[in-house]
């Protein structure tokens, strides 16, 4: 390799470059998106799983009889589907960083650990929202707008954008908590089990307010707007607290 010296490969940096957290954040984002576009592992598996959950709902509800009003439990069903599909994808997001020691390479770089958290949580949120754009309309058609022969109540649901807003705020919490817990569990033997066991209890307060918010919109009863906004505010506070805690604790969780 005679050309090596000529390339200046052996020369050290005279001045070390400035570190830009924004550049590092964008790099992780771009890398995760490029990886997903190539493998389609997370979005495809979450999307398929979401559709399968809808089929299972349909089978289960087909036995409830005509006097059962599906819209009364639609918000709960919707969130259940989102929680289950999220757990599947969130696990994959950190396994990508683990298979060949990539997380070590990431940790060896001069990057603030919370930037890694923010970037991973952002890509997880993006993938969750993409899956929801596909799966939620199908759910809406089946269980809210009444295109399929399950019994629906005599109600007019609130505007769809309120449902979309509720789901987006919920997804922010799911992505934040999920990224944190996936990081905790990735180095453990029972990582699928650990994520599932920790995820639901930590998410419990968020799920509670989101069900209340979405139930109010889907039910469309008088004054549903105030119930919706009150619960959405609760969800936003939960997200702020959990994401701030994750931001502070991420260093400790990574152990370096």
């Amino acid at each position: 390799m005679p050309a090596l010296k000529a390339t200046g490969l052996d020369a050290l940096h005279p001045v070390l470059p400035n570190i830009s957290s924004w550049r590092q954040y964008k790099a992780i984002l771009r890398k995760d998106i490029a990886q997903e576009l190539r493998t389609r592992e997370m979005v495809t598996s979450m999307g398929l799983y979401g559709m399968l959950v809808l089929v299972i709902y349909y089978i289960a509800l087909s036995q409830t009889g005509l006097d059962f009003d599906v819209t009364r439990i639609a918000a709960g069903l919707l969130l259940l589907m989102i929680v289950f599909t999220s757990m599947l994808g969130l696990n994959r997001s950190m396994i990508h960083e683990h298979d060949q020691g990539q997380l070590e390479a990431l940790l060896l770089a001069p990057i603030d650990r919370p930037i890694i958290f923010l970037a991973k949580a952002t890509t997880n949120l993006l993938f969750l929202l993409i899956v929801q754009i596909v799966v939620v309309p199908v759910f809406y058609i089946m269980y809210v707008s009444g295109s399929l022969p399950v019994q629906l109540g005599e109600i007019v649901p609130g505007p769809w954008w309120m449902i979309a807003l509720g789901l987006t705020i919920g997804s922010i919490g799911v992505a934040g908590v999920g990224t944190l817990l996936a990081t905790i569990s990735v180095n453990s033997k029972g990582r699928d089990f650990i994520l599932a066991v920790l995820f639901i209890p930590v998410m419990y307060p968020l799920l509670l307010v989101l069900v209340a918010a979405l139930n109010a919109v889907i039910g469309g009863a008088v004054g549903f707007e105030s119930v919706f906004w009150m619960n959405i505010a609760g969800a936003a506070i939960y997200n702020a607290v959990v994401i701030a805690a994750a931001f502070v604790l991420y260093d400790f969780i990574l152990g370096v």
Binding site: M1, L9, L12, R23, Q24, K31, R38, Q100, L108, A109
Partner: protein
Amino acid sequence: MAEYVHNNNQAEAASDTPAIIARGVSRSFGPRKAVDDVSFELPEKAFLSIFGPNGAGKTTLLKVLSTLLPITGKGSASVAGFDVKTQADELRRRLGIISHNPLLYPDLSAEENLRFFADLYCIPNPEERIDELFEAVELKHRRYDVVRGFSRGMTQRMSIARALLPKPEVLFLDEPYSGLDPHASEILDSLIANIRGNHTFVMVSHDLDKGLELASHALILSRGQIVLYDKTDNIEKEAFRGLYRKVVGLGVS
């Protein structure tokens, strides 16, 4: 084993500024001490080869020195003049690691991998640097191919390019020759020879011949403790081999 004392003073004398200082470094996993009270100083631009049986604590020591694992207890260490506990970010900017694990993203192309790490280290003019490295590791023709399709040798060459991206002052090599074909070994030899003058190297190896050939300093670890540390000039090769065989025979239990 009396003649093989921990001859730190002799080794230190080779240079004024140490690139690596370890003082009472320990690392435990539960009750097991993987690294136990390790102290040594390595001069700048030296090449240290670390030998020892499996489980002796070689990789753990590298991980502690590279900030990937915290020190257990009171010990301290610095690399390139920066403390591993309190100045980790500054240290990381000056450190490159080549391991038997490629630390690459197999679903990304070679170019995407290097681009990603160039952004993590905020390297100015990344294209220029990436071109330079592809030429150096002879992978220019595969730069747009996905790493998953690379042979072991090519992956390791990519790993070398990744480690050299930020022009590190200190390079840690964790069994870098393991699984390499002769051509890839030759490229690694050549790369080390070409950059040796400006960098401090620490290499973990099971290959005594290769390790001693490259090293200016040698260290044998057993059960997390230093059995021998000295300049290779002061080491009598056959006696060293005998000691190494004895240490490997002791195992780790």
